[in-house]
Structure formats: structure tokens, C-alpha cells
């Protein structure tokens, strides 16, 4: 009886220690977020002197100021546009590629797969200049092509419409899609790796059953592999959405006008060369974090499933 109660006490003590440790870890994760929200409600003068986490007189106006001063409305739309297209593109291409690497045996498949893996090792800044030069050369070709076809188009459409359309392609459509393709390229390696690991574990019997039902290879990918890989796709979605949402350096390199820039462009307004407007910066950061938190909450269940099912096992 005595040894039993001793055992219970030890077990409870262990639990208490574990919970204390986990609470400390959780606090260190949550604290920066709380600090960000707290600072977003202070003034530039009190942000350095008021040590409280939540100010007594919160400056809710900072959010309005950050939104208007940072011109967040257009940047928000842009970021949603880029994130949607890039994530969609990555899922489409990486799932096809991963399915191919996993299920189709063709000469050099391993070599190609390792080439993709090797691409993961190249840091993004290392490819800045070649990417920029490539995009710029394609832009030159496009401009040349548009200049050549414009006279013919003017025979069918009003000149102003042709001019506006070519200007739109040059200044809006091309840089946006160039950025989207670059970002898809950036996210492909890891996504292919995650999905291939997942597809490798998919039982062959499922494929056979689908084939009996009349599926060809593409059909198996669409109706068997993709539904099965939902947890892995959720992991890819959250990883890449986060990556695109927070990306700015490549955007700055490829996009040349303010109205095509993503959300991060709004934040730099508050970071001067020597002076940083911390309350507005924190308000802006809080606002930019919200969509990504929502995405995380939506996919949370799948992410846990994906991780436990081996989506990100090495």
C-alpha cells in the first residue's frame, strides 16, 4: 500500500516537472507574439519605457495608421495572389514529380531525384543574380515579341487597347508571373522530397484496385495518390504558404514597381535607416501574421496527421 502511494507521488512529481518544462517552452514560444501585440498598442515614446506586456492605455489607432501608412490593402491582395498561385503550382508540380519518382521507374530517375535534393542545398541568395539575369532576358524577348506583334494586333483592335494591353503584360503580368515561377522553383525540392517519402509508403494494392476501376497513371495520381497524400499536402501548403507570405528579397529583386510588391513591402516603411517606428511595425506584423495563423489553424489537424504519418520523416 505504502509503495503504491509512493509510486503515485513519483509519477505525479514527474508529471509536474514535465508540465513545468513544457509550460516554459510554450511560454518562450508565445512570449514574442505577446510582446509583438503588446508593443503594437504602445506609443513610440512608451515602447522603450513601458515594460508592461499590455499597456494601460492601448493605442488601437496604431492598427489603422499601420494599415493606411503602410498601404497594406494592395499589398495584402498581392500577397494572397502570390501565395495562392505559388502554393497551388508547387502542389501540382511536386505531386506529379514525386508520384513519378516514386511509382514510375525510368532510366535516370534516381539521378534526377538527387538533383532535386541537391537543389535544396543551394541557398536562395546564391541564385539571385542568375535568376535576375534569366528573368530579365526573358523580359527582353517578351518586349521584342510584343513590339513585333503590336502592328498586326492594331489591325484588329483599337491602338489604345493594344498599347494598354502590352503595357499591362510588361509591367504587371510578366513580373508577377516571373516571381510566381521563381517561388515555385524555390519550393519544389522540399515538397517533392516530402511527397515522394509519402508515396513510397503507399501500398501497391491501392494502385492495382484503381487500375481495375479503369484508372490510367494520371488517374491513379488524381484519384488515389492525391487523396491519400492530404496530410503531406497540408504540410507542404503550410511550409510554402509561410515561405511565400514572408518572402521579400526575391520579390524586391524581380518586381520593379510598388503596386506589384507583397505585404512585406508595407512593413519596411516603418523601418527607417536609423529610426524604426516600433508600434506601427508591430501592428503591421500582427496584421500580417493573422492570415498565416488562420492557414495554420485550418490545416493543423492535417499537419499533425502528416507528421505522424511520416510526411516529414527523414
Amino acid at each position: 500500500m505504502k509503495s503504491n502511494s509512493k509510486h503515485i507521488i513519483i509519477k505525479r512529481l514527474k508529471l509536474v516537472v514535465i508540465y513545468i518544462f513544457l509550460s516554459i517552452v510554450a511560454l518562450t514560444c508565445v512570449f514574442p507574439l505577446l510582446w509583438m501585440v503588446g508593443s503594437s498598442l504602445k506609443t513610440q515614446a512608451t515602447v522603450f519605457s513601458d515594460t508592461s506586456l499590455f499597456p494601460a492605455q492601448p493605442e488601437w489607432r496604431n492598427y489603422y495608421l499601420a494599415w493606411t501608412k503602410g498601404e497594406f490593402s494592395i499589398y495584402f491582395l498581392n500577397s494572397i495572389f502570390y501565395t495562392t498561385f505559388v502554393v497551388f503550382g508547387i502542389i501540382l508540380i511536386s505531386s506529379l514529380a514525386a508520384f513519378g519518382f516514386s511509382r514510375l521507374k525510368f532510366p535516370g530517375s534516381n539521378f534526377l531525384f538527387y538533383m532535386f535534393l541537391a537543389a535544396m542545398m543551394i541557398p536562395l541568395p546564391g541564385s539571385f543574380v542568375p535568376l535576375y539575369v534569366l528573368v530579365n532576358n526573358i523580359r527582353k524577348l517578351l518586349i521584342e515579341f510584343l513590339a513585333n506583334i503590336s502592328p498586326q494586333l492594331m489591325n484588329f483592335f483599337p491602338a489604345s487597347f493594344v498599347q494598354q494591353s502590352t503595357a499591362f503584360i510588361q509591367h504587371q503580368a510578366f513580373p508577377r508571373f516571373a516571381y510566381i515561377f521563381c517561388m515555385i522553383n524555390v519550393g519544389l525540392s522540399l515538397s517533392i522530397y516530402i511527397l515522394k517519402t509519402f508515396f513510397d509508403k503507399m501500398p501497391k494494392e491501392l494502385e492495382d484496385a484503381a487500375r481495375i476501376d479503369g484508372c490510367n497513371k494520371l488517374g491513379i495520381w488524381r484519384h488515389v495518390a492525391i487523396p491519400l497524400a492530404r496530410p503531406a499536402i497540408a504540410v507542404i501548403t503550410i511550409f510554402n504558404a509561410l515561405n511565400v507570405w514572408n518572402e521579400y528579397i526575391l520579390a524586391q529583386l524581380i518586381l520593379s514597381t510598388k503596386d506589384t510588391m507583397p505585404l512585406q513591402r508595407g512593413l519596411i516603411v516603418f523601418q527607417g535607416m536609423h529610426v524604426t517606428d516600433y508600434p506601427l511595425l508591430m501592428a503591421g506584423m500582427t496584421m500580417t501574421a493573422i492570415p498565416i495563423l488562420i492557414i495554420y489553424l485550418i490545416f493543423q489537424k492535417h499537419i499533425i496527421k502528416g507528421i505522424t504519418a511520416g510526411a516529414v520523416v527523414g
Binding site: V129, Q163, Q172, K201
Partner: protein, 462 residues
Amino acid sequence: MQKSKIQNPKSKLNLNIKSPKKIFNNLSLGFYYSFVIGVLAFVILLSGCSVQEGSVSSEAKVTIRGWHWMTDREEAFDELVRQYEEKTGVRVKFELYAPSDAYTQKVRAAAQAGTLPDIFGLLGEKRDFSSFVIAGHVANLNEEMLKDESAWKNRFFSRAIAVSEFLSGNEFNVEPGVYGVPLDVMNIQMLYNKDLLKEAGIRKPPKTWDQFLAMGPKLKAAGIHGFVSGWGEMWMIDCFASNYAFNIMGEEKVMDTIRGEVSYTDTDWIEVFNLFKEMRDAGFLYSGIVTMVNKTAEQLFSNEKSAFSFNGSWCVNVYSGMNPDLNYGVMLPPKKGKFPMKIWGGAGSSFLVNNRSLFKKETIEFLKWLSDDAQQTYLAEVTKNLPANKNSIGKLSPVLSGFVKAMEDTTHPNIWPVHEFPRVIEAFDKGIQAIIIGEKSPAEIALEVQKVKEKELKKKRR
């Protein structure tokens, strides 16, 4: 709807997989339609934004493009280019790319691709600057600067021009000339908190090093920290030490040391190192100063945690944001030696003209206008930076005026005829940090720096 229920025996995943053929027939295309419609709506929305740009660019006679990294000057530039377009009809379109690292990446990539804009700026050392000039990316403005008895050049503080100027026989083999238009200038001096000095019973800021050291005990007795600076950023230590090197041994001897003709173990250099020991011994230095970044030092000084600080003219802008009521003044570092005190300073930011610009003439005209008295006064007022134009200093605040007064006493390693080896600079700065924390003596550090110097000289001779 027919469904074939497939059970995965290994992973125990239960799946409801629809029969593919039927699915294709029954596929609800609603989502795809709405997706396509959504995308089209977005493109139309964007085209709405772009139509304006396209039409304007087709109507405008000349559009000058410029890139900059100065986030705090974006609104001021927008206002100035609006005025310029109203006046001349020439459109200037500035794009901001920040932070400075990302901006530098963009400029380097654009230089390689040959897509630099008409106006741009360069961040970095003079060596990088020279490579851009040699590659033919930067226009030589000498002819324009010297026109009408150097009317344009004479507008600026000489130090502001020096940063963008290559003299004949320069070590980079660049064709002599002025290659940039300075926008603002900066220098680094000492700041003192008037209220804290008063509290400690000190009536006047110190003029000499001895007066300065004597204030240490008084401040300590009043419970006030003496001196704070971002000496975790080594260039700031280098800057402070360099001021006193010029003051104690004179410019000639400093240059001779860099040339390798004078040893760092010379008594004058040991005296320079010793200043840091004296500050430590007098209890002047804020604890943790050797690892402190300048942002933290700025916070501490603006929150009245220290009586003195060593900072650049940009601090006026910083302190006004952090503590608008801060009552402080600016002074040259208190003198120790017999030679003139030379502080670090020069052009803060400069604009360069793309040598391959289609609108080179128009771009130069715009920069002439931008650097004219009225525009420079406006920029100084709005951004609280020191103007590069000497005639625009009339309306500055007392602290900014204090900074401006010392503009002609400034120097900068970028304009020195010789440059120290990076390894020597590192040993020098780290050595001073070791003195401050009491790890080594000034004589020991002098010896260590000299050893590194000799090693580097040997390498160079090879």
C-alpha cells in the same frame, strides 16, 4: 453514386475512393469555374491599377527612374519629384528597396544584367564604388561640377564630395573626377545630457580629457552612469580611437603607421589605447558596453540612463522618436593631445548617375535641382538629417547646428590615401575591447596589433 471502399491493410487507412470514370462525368466543375472567374477578376482589378501607369508613361515626355534605400525619406522624395514634374514636366519615379542588404543585392544584380536605373546609390566601401565606375556604370560628373567656376561643386561641404571623388593617382586606377551627388552629410561626435550633468553638479560639458575623467566620480556619486555607446559594433570603437589618434599624434603619423613606417608599439599609440583603460578605471563606461549594439546605446541615452554618449548625427532623428523631451547637447570629444581633433564624417547618402542612361542630361539636371538650397533645406527639415549643401543650414535645430559646425573637421577612412589591413583593424578593435574588460593592458594590445601588422605586411611583400 458507386463507391469502391478500399482498405489499406498495412497502414489501416480507410479510403472512400470514387470510381474514376463516373467521377469524371460527375465532376463538379463549380469550384474550377469560380476559381477561374476569381483569377480573371483579380487580373482585371490589377489591370485597373496598371492602366494608369501605362497611359502616363506613354504620355510623359521623359521619365527618369531612380532607386533608393532610404525608407525615412520616401515621402520627402515623393513630394520633391511632384514639385519637379510640376515645374519642368519631367517625371521622376523613385522606387524604394530596403533594407540596405536587399537593396545592394538588387543593384548588383541589375548592374550585371545592365538594367540599372538612371539614378541609384551605392552602399559599401570605396573599393566597391571604384569597381562600378571601372565597369562603366557610373557617370563622371566632373565637367558639370566644375562648370561656372565650380558652382555645383562649391555648394557642398568638401567632405561630402570627397566620398564620391577619385583624385588623380588614386589607388583604384579610376579616372579622376566626382562620381556622385551627396544628399546629406553626417558626422560622429559626443552627446551629453544637460539635465543629468546638472543633477551631478556639473555646469559645463568638458573640453579636455582630464576634465572629462574628473567628472566620472561626480557622476558616480550621483548614481548616474557616465558613458554609453554601441561599442559592440567594432567600427564605433575604431572611430573613437581614430579621433584620438589624430588628436594625439597628428594625421601624418597615423598615415605613416598605416604605411608600416611607424609601429603600433609607439608611445603615442599606447596613449591612445590607454584612454580606454582610463575610462574604465574612472568607472565611466556603462556595463556591457563592449557587447552593446548602437540601438541599445541609443535607447539607454534617450531614456536618460547615461550622461554621455558617442553617436552619429542621425541620433537627432532617433532621440526625437524615442524621447522628444530629451534635453541634450553635442560636443567634440574632449581633447587630449596637441593636434586637431579629426572626427569621422562625410557624405551620408549620395546619388549616382547611370553612365548608360538614355536621359543622362535630364538626370543631371534633376540632381542639380535636388541639391539646390531650397530642396536641401526641405529635406533637412523633414528628415532631420544634415544637408550636404552648405547654404541650407540656416534653419537647423541647435543640436543639428552643433553637428554641422564640425563638418569641416571631419575625416573618414574612405578618403585616406592609404588603408589599413582588415586583419589589423580587427586586432585593433578587439584589443580595445580586451582593455575595456580588463583582460589585457594597453602595452600588450599594442604589441599584438603590431605583430598582426607585420604579418600582413610580410604577406603583401610576397
